[in-house]
């Protein structure tokens, strides 16, 4: 049975690195893995989605509506946008952060209120104060790795495998910082 993890965020929040860390951990567990990402134009501050699929044999690299077992959302509006991708028993892990998109900045649209409350009416939502934890770890830029730490609580992958995956994928210079970020996410209630 193929399992599906979807990562949704804003260009620049590090969804690509997140999928690489996740991919490395899943390979170490002996799964067939496919990761799909989008580069180029859509990266520049736009909505960015990355798919991670694993199991015995994975065919399509893309997760479709109703297929995601877990959605890892780095921003509230982006969580709401990809809601339909979640399957009925799926879990939505969301970083409680609001980033205004350009139509909100220019005043053409409003950032909706109570998004997370609205989402929680239909699916299982697990909010994470990842920005705060990332700053505690040493940089607002490691929101993504805090979220991986939180995700690690939901998956049956040994702790050491995660640490090994971080060591493989994160550049040496930022490793200590990211290990701290992972730890904070992993210990989060």
């Amino acid at each position: 049975m193929t399992k599906n993890i979807m990562i949704a965020g804003v260009g620049g929040q590090g969804t690509l690195l997140t999928s690489r860390i996740l991919g490395a951990a899943l390979i170490a567990q002996g799964y067939d893995v496919k990761v799909s990402e989008v580069h180029g134009m859509s990266q520049r501050g736009g909505s960015v989605i990355t798919y991670v699929r694993y199991g015995e044999e994975v065919f399509s690299p893309v997760i479709e509506e109703g297929q995601a077992d877990v959605i890892l959302a780095f921003e509230e509006l982006e969580a709401a946008r990809v809601l339909t991708y979640l399957n009925k028993e799926g879990k939505l892990l969301v970083n409680m952060q609001k980033l205004d998109p350009m139509p909100v900045i220019t005043g053409a649209a409003e950032y909706p209120d109570d998004l997370i409350w609205q989402i929680s009416q239909s699916v299982c939502v697990m909010p994470v104060n990842a920005l705060q934890l990332a700053e505690q770890a040493g940089s607002s830029k490691c929101v993504n790795v805090v979220m991986i730490g939180r995700l690690a609580q939901e998956l049956e992958i040994p702790y050491d495998t995660w640490i090994q995956a971080l060591r493989q994928t994160v550049p040496e210079k930022f490793l200590e910082l990211n290990l701290r970020a992972f730890e904070l996410g992993f210990r989060q209630e």
Partner: protein, 579 residues
Amino acid sequence: MKQLFLGNAAVARGAYEAGVRVVSSYPGTPSTEITEEMVRYSEVDVEWAPNEKVAAEVAVGASLANGRAMSCMKHVGLNVMADPVFTASYLAPPGGLVFCVADDPGMHSSQNEQDSRHYAKAAKIMMLEPSDAEECRDFARDAFELSEKFHTPVFLRLSTRVSHSQGLVEPGEVQVHVPGPYVKNAQRVAVPVNSRKMHVEVEKRTKEEVCFAENCAYNRIENHGSRIGVITSGISYMYAREALGDQVNYLKLGIVYPLPEKLIRSFAAQCECVYVIEELDPFLEEHCRALGVDVRGKELFTPIGEYNADMISRVVLGRPLAEHVQPLETRLPARPPVMCAGCPHRGVFYVLAKLGLHVAGDIGCYTLGANAPLNSMDFNLCMGASIGTAFGMVKAQGREFGKKVVSVIGDSTFIHSGITGLIDIVYNQGNNTILILDNSTTGMTGHQDNPTTGRTIRGIPTRQVDLELLCKAVGVTRVKIVDPFDVELMEKTLREELEADEPSVIISQRPCALLKSVRYQGKFRVTEDCRKCRRCMKLGCPAITCRNGVVSIDPLQCVGCGLCEHVCPFGAMVREENT
């Protein structure tokens, strides 16, 4: 040990395993990483060429001199390189020669979604199409051998989801391929007397390739004892497998040109009903119909955009792939891509918007200047076209119109194919004004070096094209260099150059904010001197927001570029030194 490879990285690995000697390309999403990944392999001579045509010519030359060679590009890049490619098909150079082209169904990062398979048919060049990273490596590796076996260049066709998906690949052995001595063969001078003979050979080899396609490992039947058959290739095969599993039989085509005949007929004969599932145009479908095979295709599946498993499940099985949660009733604001905080293009487009000029656009990050709140682009066409199209507009509307229209073009795009448009304007006595947005890199595709940056793809220092001297050398006497953050000077210069009744070039010079070498000190904040005039909001900077009339700067997004300080009339934007 199996490793995760991006489809593009797997292509690079495959070419390396085949002993490729020369790789020459121009960046273009989704193909860029193939050539970037080649840098890992120190034995390979890899380069960024100024454009795809030159890249293809370098690869053909390397192949003529017995080296295995490859050139990689996005689908629209194939248009640029089409001229050498069509005749390379005739020349049939001896070294394995592969043209790797990445299509972009769904247009994630492109101006159109043309289907490259038509080129294979038109140029009579064999085309392989992998479905995942493992096949990317296998097909790229084998393409060189097929090229030498059939005396033809070979296309490797990718699409965004194949190029930009990672899958498991077991790296294989690396062949050592040393080119034999070069031997002149004057039959390869493509003049009519020789080309007539070469064309005969092309037709002959195509017949041989068809025989090969009938019975090779790249085209395979997966028989699950169903009465339904699916003919498919590339990423569509993966979507079909996802949707239909073992419930149907598959004819999976790894060679999409030339196509087999007997194989398709015998597959169809085993099934009561055959679907052709392929993204974009009915390429396989038309071939089947020409063979008299009854298939269902584009009457059920769209020729537009990407496919997915859900769409296939609905058509073939009559049910959706999965049930899903209902969307929220609240309307969600879109999040379009924007120029980054600190982007040097922002200053230019702020001035263009202020002056209300007509802007002929080009291909690069600055195409984002078309979006709100800058709204400063009238149209764009293709790489380098901002200059020729603007000249055409002035010809149609009259010389006065030249005072209201500007071309905007990036440094890499200008070298790619903008320079020829500029020569046209000088030669034919135009009065256009051209803005070259020199940000010291090829930005949109992820920061590749180019002839104006002074570094090669391997980061080795090299001669740098001097844009100012280049423009002067082709006969432009009015060339100005302006910092785009000095919006007052930019406005003044633009006004002057638009008035001049001769060609002008303004080089807007400031490096991309994402380059590692660019570091601004401190971040900005808004002081109580703010009079809420909202002029700064016209910049479309993602770091500046206005809630309930109060302007503020998000310290997480601000990079400290200081452009807002230049546009604020009240000095309310202040740099905080220690943040």
